[in-house]
Amino acid sequence: MAGKTLDFVGATGRAALRFAATVGEWGVLMQDTIRGLRAVRIWGGLVFEQMMRIGVASVPIALFIAAFTGIVLALQASYTFTGAVPVYLVGSLVGKTMIIELGPVLTGLALAGRVGASIAAELGTMRVTEQIDALETMAYDPAAYLVLPRVLAGAVMFPAVTLLASTLGIVAGWLTAIQLLEMSTPEFVRGLEAFFVPFDVVFSVIKSFSFGLTVTSLGCFFGFRTRGGAAGVGRAATSAVVASSMVILVFDAFWAAVLL
């Protein structure tokens, strides 16, 4: 019994050390990335391309998710409120929820899958085929050349895609309300305006900015530390998505506790 307890304590300790070491390695990569800001000649021309790949190419999936979320929110709000709460509050619920919660979080999670996996797989492949070593031998700072453009693009484009998605979600909720719930547009807008404060948008931008940093930096991190060929690339992509999703949810709770 004592032996099993000791084994458990040992295993927990080793897992904690591995976790701390991983966080430390991520910190070192981020430090190198921040230092890389000086090398504008290396990364300056690459950010726009990454903004297109990370942001613009992600718009369809983000809008698809947001549209159906808006529809479901309107229908479920109506179902819940009927007979108990004024129905115009459907607009409040759709607007508030899309802006401060589901818009940023669902977009973040969707992009964690799409962008995080893609970055980890791309950089992981470059790692196992020595392309990152080749960059270094040609006097390129890999953090400045590979990480910085992706992280900057993520920090800018996640909020932009999120705002677009939240807007479409509200529009979808409005269309649902007027087409299926027999609400009028003034009723829906009244509800939308009732609880809206401009800070909601700021809150959404702050959250999605942090999600953008999370997804891109973790994608780069797991890509950079890839070992072991194709299987290693697969593991890197999976780890990037899982870790990004978990950190997004932690950040979601953190920002709610700190800013609301």
Binding site: T129, E130, Q131, D133, A134, L135, E136, T137, M138, A139
Partner: protein
Amino acid sequence: MIRLRGVHRAFGEKVVLKGFDLDVPRGATVALIGASGAGKSVVLKHIVGLLAADRGSVTVDGREVAELDQEALYALRRRVGYVFQFAALFDSMTLAHNVEMGLRRIPGLSSRDIRRRAAECLELVDLGGLGDRYPAEISGGQRKRAGIARAIATRPRYLLYDEPTTGLDPVTTTVIGRLILRLREEIGATGLVVTHDLGTAYEVADSMAFLHDGRVRAHGAPGEIRISGDPVVRSFIEGAPELMETIA
């Protein structure tokens, strides 16, 4: 001159280099031979600072690589061309762009000069006209040559070749061997060729070093290595594992 003295390097439990010594004099081409997994590529990575020794000294042009700050390390890397075992070409770029990458890090070169010099390098390795192809669209031998073109683009003082002929057919192997000799004449770079292909080593090297058990076991002119009486060296040269058993 490249000089390694008493270099020790381990990866976890596995000790790869155990007091490795080697000199690569200016203008010479040295072949580092040894079995697969002996640590030959690890030696090359120490020279350009991709790996740091646990103990020992690695100097290039008299300066300790491990002590260089980032700028000095980049300056060193601009003086060294590195040919990777599997070419390590950037697969999202054309061959021309691959070759241009190193040139873009040289201050003062115009875009026109960069394109012209990249075309010259591809011409030099007989890939002229293939500059707009992607690495996936060319053969293994052509990829190796493109990797060499990329390495020589910055007109380096040193050229490090990591298994330049591995996985190639005999004819392409000969082509690469002759290319290494030709480049030595045309750009005059000091060379360190890591290989387990003895034919290439005999052909291109002024001297050969045999890496075994983390150290240089034998070092000499190709003719001396060829007739070495050391059973470990003979075992490698003749591909005869039973000779190893006689000393075990």
